[in-house]
Each structure stands twice: as C-alpha cells, then as structure tokens.
C-alpha cells in the first residue's frame, strides 16, 4: 500500500499505466564525505508552498522555494487530489515534509547541516518534461550554489 493489490482495480490500472519515463540505468554521483559532515537539502513533490506564495495549478512544473527555517505553520499544500489523504498532512507536516525530523538529525549530529532553502514541486504530473529539462536542473544548480552535498526527496 499503496501495494497495488490493495487498491481498487481502477486505481491499480491507473498507476500501472501511468506514463513513466522508462530507463535501463540510473545516473550516479558518489557521496564523497560522511553524513556527519554533509549539508543536506530536502526536495519534495508534495505540492507544498510557503503561505502567501502562488499556489500550484494544473500541470504546473515550476517550483517553490521553502526556506529551511520556515515554521511548520507557514507551510501549506496546494496539491489536492482524491488520490491521497490530506488529513495526514494536516495533522503533521512531517508526514511528507520531515523538517522537524531533519533539524533533530542535525542536533543529534547524524547529519552535518541543512541547506538554507528547501524546494517543492507538484506531484503526479503526467508529462513532467519541463521538470526533467529545465526546472529540475535549475533547482540542482541552485542547490550546488548553496553548497549542498546531498539531496533527500519525498513524494506526496
């Protein structure tokens, strides 16, 4: 679960037939330092934004910047869908955007530090070409410019 066998037939077929970009291999970059020295960034496709920022719209392939020190109460979700349960996010932001957990990991010395900014995209896009070619690489460039060593990604 969503183990596909648990979903309704319609939902199952929808996911199995969801247009995905098939690949035979994956790009690889080696992490060159221990986690305790890493500056980590959080990037999500949960359609989150800072309160007051422009909401995502249909097939919106742009991104939103969420400063790492944004209080949880100022992070809202403009991706809404029958496809997932919003009440979990309403109860706890960390369920898809684990900012508090990451700050705790820094305090515990598990990871070195966090980036100044986190980034958010819309999820469940059927043809995310623009993210692949433009906005995704743009976020990567910004992260590199911020001195980030590794990126953790979360879905909706």
């Amino acid at each position: 679960m969503p183990r596909l066998e648990d979903l309704t037939e319609v939902a199952r077929q929808g996911h199995l037939n969801f247009p995905a970009f098939e690949h035979t291999d994956a790009p690889f970059s080696q992490l060159t330092k221990p986690l305790t020295e890493v500056k980590l960034a959080l990037v999500t496709t949960a359609g989150l934004q800072v309160r007051g920022d422009t909401p995502f719209s249909n097939n919106d392939q742009s991104f939103r910047v969420i400063p790492a020190n944004t209080p949880a109460r100022d992070i809202i979700q403009s991706h809404t869908s029958i496809g997932f349960d919003r009440s979990a996010f309403m109860r706890d932001v960390n369920i898809s955007f684990p900012v508090d957990r990451l700050h705790e990991l820094v305090e515990r010395g598990v990871i070195g530090s966090l980036s100044e900014n986190f980034y958010s995209f819309m999820g469940a896009l059927r043809n995310p070409k623009q993210i692949e070619k433009e906005t995704g690489p743009e976020v990567a460039r910004r992260l590199i410019a911020e001195g980030v060593d590794a990126v953790f990604l979360t879905p909706t």
Binding site: M1, L7, H15, A20, E22, T45, G136, I144
Partner: protein
C-alpha cells in the same frame, strides 16, 4: 525523475517512493520503497520515532557505491487504502442539505480555531487568500453560483480567473471543514471525513452543485474545472 535530474547535475540523491512498480521503470538512483498510503510518505503522523526509522533507512542508501538501488522499508503503517469521491459518498439525494452554508461555517468556526490553536497556528486553509472570518459574503456568492444565478464576488483576488478562484476556494472550504471535524472527532480517518463532508454538510452539497453547473457547460475548460472541485 526529479531525482535523476538532480543526480545528473552531480548531487547524490535518495528518494522515498510509494509505488515500487513505477520506481522499477523510472529508476531513481537511490530509492526507498515504503508500503504506506499516498499522503503518508514518512509512515505515521505524530510518531517521530517511526518517522526517524524511515529517514534512517533512506539516508542509509547514500552508502551505496552504484545506482540504481531500490530498497524496501520493512514496517507497515495503518492508513486508508480507498478514498471516497463526492459522487461515491452521496448515496441518497434526498439527504442533500440544500441550504446556504454560512451558518454552518460559523458553527464550525470554534472547532476550526481550536484545531489551529492546538497545532501551533498550522492550518491548510489559506490558498484562496480570503480569510475565513470573511466567508459569509463568499458563501452567499458560492450558493448563488451553485444555483445557476449570474453572480460575481466583489473581493475576488486580482489576476486569477473565476474558475481558478472557485477551485482554490473549494480547497480552502474542504480544509476548514476537515480540520474542524478532526477537532470534533480526533479518531476519524480520511474516509470518515470525506463521507461526512460530502453527505452530511451544506458546504458539501453546495460544492457538488457548483461542480454540476461547471460540468454542464459546453466549454471544455469550464467542464474540466468541475473535476477539481467535487472530489
């Protein structure tokens, strides 16, 4: 897909994925498959130790010396599997509560505000830009729209279309009702919340009617907007 783009630029990535079958095709460089419902990527809301176990498993993948890596998180978490659409929730049309929901909003306001207070000011309401304490006029407009009247909302934010505004307002209304309901009935899951909203509230009936009006349009853009409102 996004993970691949970032990795290609030279940054190591680790991603939580909810659909194993898709990750097998797309091949993000390092992926942790978690057996949780959509909307529950870290497993359990409010359970920080459980969330830390998921995080630790995802961060552990940075040790890998090749890609792709697809690992599976070993623990399950409870959650709803099937969500309810407006159309499925309202089984009996005679139970429609076809009244203007302004009083309903006022009645729920206390619960809603307590929810926000209990959550350190957090709320999902706010994407339409109309503060909930100004919703009385908004309800009048929405109710008139739902009933086929020619109407406009004087304080509509600039720069967006009426269709877009209707969608954002519908999302704000749903968030407001769900948060108020979760304050009233903390044990309720998404299925309960959706059933209640669509079958037992005046706002649910009103949004379903707005969607029906949009859906009846010959204009394809208007028709499509209906889909985003009644679900």
């Amino acid at each position: 897909m996004l993970a691949r783009a970032i990795e290609e630029a030279g940054l190591p990535t680790s991603a939580i994925v909810l659909i194993k079958e898709q990750a097998e095709r797309v091949k993000p460089p390092r992926a942790l498959f978690v057996p949780f419902p959509f909307g529950f990527a870290l497993g359990k809301p409010g359970d920080s130790e459980f969330q830390h176990r998921v995080l630790a498993a995802a961060l552990d993948l940075f040790k890998s010396e090749s890609a792709p890596v697809l690992a599976a998180f070993p623990e399950d978490a409870d959650g709803p599997v099937r969500l309810i659409q407006a159309s499925a929730a309202r089984v009996d049309v005679s139970t429609h509560i076809d009244i203007e929901p302004a009083d309903e909003v006022t009645a729920l306001r206390g619960y809603y505000e307590r929810w926000v207070e209990d959550h350190d000011g957090r709320t999902g309401v706010g994407i339409s830009g109309v503060p909930h304490r100004q919703w009385r006029g908004l309800m009048k407009y929405l109710y008139a729209f739902a009933h086929g009247e020619e109407t406009t909302y004087a304080e509509m934010p600039e720069g967006i279309t009426e269709l877009r505004f209707l969608k954002l307002v519908a999302d704000d209304l749903k968030s407001f009702y769900m948060e108020a309901r979760m304050c009233q009935r903390p044990e309720q899951q998404d299925n309960d919340l959706q059933s209640w909203f669509w079958a037992e509230t005046a706002a649910g009936t009103m949004l379903a009617k707005i969607a029906a009006r949009l859906d009846a349009s010959d204009d394809q853009t208007t028709k499509r907007a209906a889909f985003g409102i009644a679900r």
